[in-house]
Amino acid sequence: MENVIEIKNLTKSYGKARGIIDVSLQVKKGDIFGFLGPNGAGKSTTIRSMLGFLRPNAGTVTILGMDSRKDHEKILKKVGYMPSEAWFYDTMRVSEVIRYAADIRGMDCSEEAGILCERLKMDTRKKIKELSLGNRKKVSIVCAMQHKPDIFIFDEPTSGLDPLMQRTFFELIREYTDKGATCLLSTHVLSEVNRYCRSAAIMREGRLTMLDSPAIDEDAFIRFYEDEEETV
């Protein structure tokens, strides 16, 4: 099966501070890829480098066969990204934010957006500043999914979502991946990876290790966090 995401020797440092070191990974088409690691391990840095928010010091990122720097705009057309913190323009209404994201994509996504809003039980008339974190996360999910992208990149998507919405969210991911989409899911919730992912990698102190299977024993996972010297 073809690789839709291919990262080779990606390094990003913030001055003297560590970012990520020599990260390489491949995600295959149709996969739900679990990207595990403790806070500050470098998961967000990897994702932000992939999407062009950060300029890596070394390495290459290829998404859907395109170079992440040269074909940045083309790649973003086919990607749905949900950042770890869902921030939008405070004065806009939910419906305006969703339409704004679709307008910039040059698409009419009203039908899909309507379906997603209904499943996520969203009140689109509310202003962003009136929303809780969980509800802002839902807006973020709609903005990432409404254009039916080929690749989803989620950075800690379930924090702030209630259990029912978490279930709906993963049902949606499954439905899209069944239709051929690919998902990179960054999280530090082991159960999400065990339950939903088909392959996984774990990051610690800026370095990435591919896992043989996403089914990881919880004790082993905790030991991984605790023992910083141990290599996986």
Binding site: R55, E73, W87, Y100, A101, I104
Partner: protein, 263 residues
């Protein structure tokens, strides 16, 4: 890009409305005041024109405050010069950096837009705002002048407004560059810069040793007294302004494209 431009314009509409009405309205009111003060002006004009460096600084040594052009240059010129400079700084100083300051940068830049397009849309927004501000203020001043039965050169007013617009664009350009470099809204710095440029021009006209360096500041070529008294076009100053504006805009594109986005 069109969507970003329209959203920016909508978001800045209140700021535009407040500043245009405040500056234009004050100018309009000042012009109308001329009629009621006309009789008492003659003695005041003599006094103001003989106050040495102070008269030079406010242009009252070259233009009589008793005439409408002189009154306009000293009173409305000060209000518009300072007000428009502050408005230009306010509009542009946070236009790029606010995305990071308010944590909306990831949402915007995860959409299929190159950073160049974001910078272009935001720069266009600043340009449109400055054009509307200048045109509406100009209409206020024309309205005020039309209410009075006095001689006034339309071409001088046009030249004045065009040069003020360039001055605003220069200040906005510098602030735009700061906005592209910074990840925080530097409102104080923007307003401080506009006021510093104004003060530099004012001091430069009072202190003889500074006169040779006056052309550096953006207020030097937009001085109402010089324009209404028909002084020669300050070519060096205008060329420097155009160069600074171009460098600021190119610099903003280069910096915004190269730097890491704060989350």
């Amino acid at each position: 890009m069109r969507s970003v431009l329209l959203r920016e314009l909508k978001q800045n509409m209140k700021l535009l409305l407040i500043w245009t009405l405040a500056v234009g309205g004050m100018g309009f009111y000042c012009i109308l005041l001329y009629q009621s003060m006309q009789g008492e002006m003659k003695e005041m004009a003599d006094m103001f024109s003989n106050m040495g460096a102070f008269s030079d600084a406010f242009g009252m040594s070259t233009l009589s405050i008793a005439t409408l052009p002189g009154f306009f240059a000293t009173e409305v010129g000060t209000i518009h010069g300072l007000g428009s400079g502050m408005f230009a700084a306010l509009v542009s100083i946070g236009i790029l950096s606010k995305e990071e300051d308010r944590h909306t940068g990831e949402f915007l830049l995860a959409l299929p837009l190159s950073r160049n397009k974001v910078v272009t849309a935001k720069a266009l927004c600043v340009l449109v705002m400055l054009v509307i501000f200048t045109v509406v203020c100009g209409l206020f001043y024309l309205g005020g002048i039309a209410c009075l039965d006095a001689e006034f050169s339309g071409s001088d007013l046009f030249t004045y407004l065009v040069r003020q617009f360039l001055m605003n664009a220069e200040i906005a350009g510098i602030c735009f560059l700061i906005s592209a470099i910074s990840s925080r809204i530097k409102m104080g710095l923007g307003l401080g810069l506009a006021m510093m440029f104004y003060a530099f021009d004012l001091i430069g006209r009072v202190v003889p040793d500074l006169k040779d360096y006056l052309f550096i500041g953006p207020y030097s070529y937009a001085n109402a007294s010089e324009i209404f008294s028909g002084e020669d076009t300050p070519v060096a100053s205008l060329c420097l302004a155009a160069t600074l504006l171009a460098v600021s805009i190119i610099g903003a594109y280069a910096c915004y494209n190269r730097r890491d986005l704060q989350s």
